[in-house]
Amino acid sequence: MAEKKNVSRRDFLKTSGIAAGALVGGGIIGGVIGANTRQDTAAPSGGSAGQSGGAETTEAVRGLQFFKNQQEFAVLQQATERIFPEDDLGPGAIGLGVPFFIDHQLAGSYGENSREYMQPPFQVGEATQGYQSRLKRNELFRQGLQKMQQEAQSRFEANFVDLEGEQMDEILTAFQDDEVDMQGANAQFFFRLLRQATLNGAYADPIYGGNQNMDAWRMKGFPGHRPSYINEIESEEFVEFDPHSVGDMLS
């Protein structure tokens, strides 16, 4: 369902001729493309129930900041869900918003490697010397996801997102074992990055767009931001807390 709506968004953007700047912040954006929003004009409020009064909470508008291609994002969604799947403990990567988290990170300094040494010459080194590719993380992610789709086609003659779980796992394992050829980087490194980004998105503070509703923290028993444990640190018993985001400090 969501994909259908997004297609119409794309068509809308293509045909409307409205400059992107005119869309942002205007009521039109929510009404037309805010698939996840229940309130179309309000600025994202941080989602606290108190502010919207009653059971209905205000959700932020969700959209893609880095990926331009629905299929690549869909592969990312399914791949991260295989790494961190929904189960009886609680939501998986998709339910936690991990793909959106990764998309947003790839659009920013993480994806651009802006705090990393990216000067040439680039040379292949020993594994102990670490990452030596000229590819930025967001380039590596796009290529990796495209390769996953290609692997799905060549192995199973199907789109990655339409594969059975075990078939997706087979492809992910091939990347993990460095059995897929990539350009300018190796598949194993990409897999490690994808795995780590998935965990980052699952367990980072929800201010980054993942760990929705702090459900990953609840599963794990991590209370998030608490100013002090001085009154509980000597407790013999396990103490459970309702989790808090560092974002609460600003509300």
Binding site: R82, I83, F84, P85, D87, L89, G92, Y110, N113, S114, R115, E116, Y117, M118, Q119, P121, Q123, G125, E126, A127, T128, Q129, G130, Y131, Q132, D169, L172, R195, T198, L199, N200, Y203, A204, D205, I207, Y208, A216, W217, M219, K220, G221, F222, P223, G224, H225, R226, P227, S228, Y229, I230, E232, I233, E234, S235, E236, F238, V239, V246, M249
Partner: protein, 570 residues
């Protein structure tokens, strides 16, 4: 064209613990001091959003921007060194406070044995205990000589602890504040190690057990056990750091200025004296020369060595001949240990960086090495630092690293896993050293520092032996499954290990085999001082900061003495 600034008495390069201590001591004596800091000003108020694992611990908010400067690395001389493009094995700091902002707060004094390791090893085990390629040497100072400076640093920092360790050096006074709270998890370690016949004690901590006013009049708050110390700044001002102690003490004299965004690229010299430093404003890229009577290199290990090398001060170490001292005896640490999986959930997310208990029964020479193929050892500790969910995904053996089984096991074991770990002392080796890279440069056009390093047989033997001890302790603690750390092979710069890099600008009693004398005064340039963990002639079984702090007080005394009398201090 560089702009030449007004001459000052003392200029320090970097404002962390060493730069702050030297500034405070010299400024109190009336010397005009300028601190050049390539990063920015920051203080307790800047850490109010610090309970954010992703921003600070995973994305390294407080660490060095590698796009400007990094190091290159190779395992051995026959490899091509390549840049460390992303932070990994160790975390370089930046900004006011330096690594003293993002430290955990474990505050140790190296053992008396450490300072005289060569003499004591030869006397006890003969001269051939280690093969000749291990370049072990004494530090040119004894523990007893350094004790007053240790004492001074601990009083400045308000260190919390208890004097119950039979293996460490004699203390002239008690810890300024009592030990931290002994939590149920620490008690587990205490009981187990006591049962095995060892002598556990509360780790000396810079996360203070109670509010404290130091001799300079600075207030340090009491730790709240919030679980965000390492890689974070403390929002309470309860983890002692330079920006809440020595830096304000220096500023209060009116004799101290800090210039931020000031990246020093060269130590200027004329004949056998230094005349000042040249730095680049990192915002405008303008060049400045800061003339000074005394120059003190107070940046991190890597940068202190690099500045001497690019300024061509001292004789470069040559691994072929063993001659030269600059870059020699770089050492890292090795990390034996064991994890234990338990049935009951524990409050692992509460804690503090230096909340821990330790045994020294296998550190230094406190156990007999006659039948062992290594010297030294490791302190073995259990710390409760606050486990956080991104980085802490403990998995029992044979659990996959992703997928359904991973998710279940990592969630189940997050609150049910404890670790004991050793900080293994690393002995210097002929083939482990620092030099300048011939290919790669920093953003200012200065060559990068090159690290040539690998673990040695001594390291591997020590790791194996100490891991066995850690496993025994964890078994005694009652874990249902105990996993010892895998044996080490080649050093890998990718996974985080420890930021305890040492050597390269080592101290000693002989100009032929050391860079600085025991006042940290350069042998070749009497008005140049170099202080930090780079002075360590080998790495010990503890965190370095306590010993670095002591050396900084020693150095400050030397600078003051030099300012009055001049000449060589030894």
């Amino acid at each position: 064209m560089a702009t030449t600034l007004d001459k000052v008495d003392v200029v320090t390069v970097g404002v962390g613990w060493t730069g702050g201590i030297i500034a405070a001591e010299c400024a109190k004596e009336g010397l005009k001091v300028v601190g050049l800091e390539r990063g920015q000003e920051r203080s307790t108020e800047d850490y109010s959003m610090v309970h954010d694992e992703y921003r600070y611990a995973i994305r390294y908010e407080l660490m060095q921007d590698l796009s400007k400067e990094t190091i290159t690395f190779r395992n051995s001389r026959d490899q091509k060194a390549l840049p460390m493009r992303q932070l990994g094995s160790f975390l370089l700091g930046e900004g006011l406070g330096g690594a003293g902002t993002h430290w955990n707060g474990q505050n140790w004094r190296f053992l008396p044995y450490d300072f005289e390791i060569k003499s004591m090893t030869d006397a006890k085990y003969g001269e051939n205990k280690l093969p000749a390629e291990y370049t072990l040497q004494d530090w040119g100072i004894t523990y007893d000589e350094l004790e007053p400076y240790f004492d001074k640093f601990e009083k400045t920092a308000g260190i919390s602890g208890e004097d119950k360790n039979p293996f460490w050096g004699k203390r002239s006074s008690d810890y300024p504040t009592p030990p931290m709270k002994k939590t149920p998890l620490l008690s587990k370690f205490e009981t187990a190690t006591s049962n095995l016949g060892y002598t556990p004690f509360m780790m000396p901590s810079a996360n203070l057990s109670e509010a404290y006013e130091n001799p300079d009049g600075q207030q340090i708050a009491a730790c709240q056990y919030c679980g965000f110390c390492e890689r974070f700044g403390c929002e309470y001002g309860a983890k002692t750091s330079p920006e809440i102690t020595v830096v304000p003490a220096a500023r209060a004299t009116g004799n101290y200025d800090i210039r931020f965004n000031a990246n020093v690229v060269e130590v200027m010299k004329e004949g056998d004296r230094v005349t000042g430093v040249r730095f680049i404003d990192t915002v405008t890229f303008e060049e400045f020369i800061q003339p000074a009577e005394v120059v003190v290199l107070t940046s991190y290990v890597m940068n202190n060595a690099k500045l001497l090398m690019v300024s061509e001060i001292g004789q470069m170490y040559d691994p072929e001949t063993g001659e030269g001292s600059l870059g020699k005896n770089y050492a890292y640490q090795i990390l034996p240990g064991a994890s234990g999986f338990f049935d009951d959930q524990m409050n692992v997310f509460m804690g503090a960086g230096a909340l821990g208990m330790t045994i020294d029964d296998f550190n230094g020479d406190s156990f007999d090495h006659s039948d062992l193929d290594f010297v030294h050892g490791a302190s073995i500790s259990m710390t409760q630092t606050g486990s956080r969910p991104i980085a802490s995904n403990p998995l029992p053996p044979d659990t996959p690293s992703w997928g359904a089984d991973f998710k279940k096991a990592s969630i189940e074991n997050y609150t049910r896993t404890l670790s004991v770990g050793g900080q293994g002392a690393s002995m210097p080796h002929r083939d482990n050293y620092l030099s300048l890279d011939e290919t790669y440069k920093d953003v200012y056009g200065v060559p990068l520092l090159q690290l040539t390093y690998n673990f040695t047989d001594q390291d591997r033997a020590l790791h194996k032996y100490l891991t066995e001890r850690a496993v025994e302790i964890m078994e005694e603690m009652g874990a249902k499954t105990v996993v010892g750390r895998a044996p080490i092979s080649d050093y890998d710069i990718v996974p985080y290990q420890t930021t305890h890099n040492t050597g390269g600008t080592i101290m000693g009693g002989d100009p032929a085999t050391s860079v600085v004398n025991n006042y940290l005064q350069h042998w070749d340039m009497e008005n140049l001082f170099v202080v930090g963990a780079g002075n360590f002639a080998h790495n010990g079984g503890y965190n370095p900061t306590g010993t670095v702090g002591a050396l900084a007080y020693r150095c400050a005394e030397g600078i003051i003495k030099y300012s009055q009398d001049g000449g060589s201090l030894v």
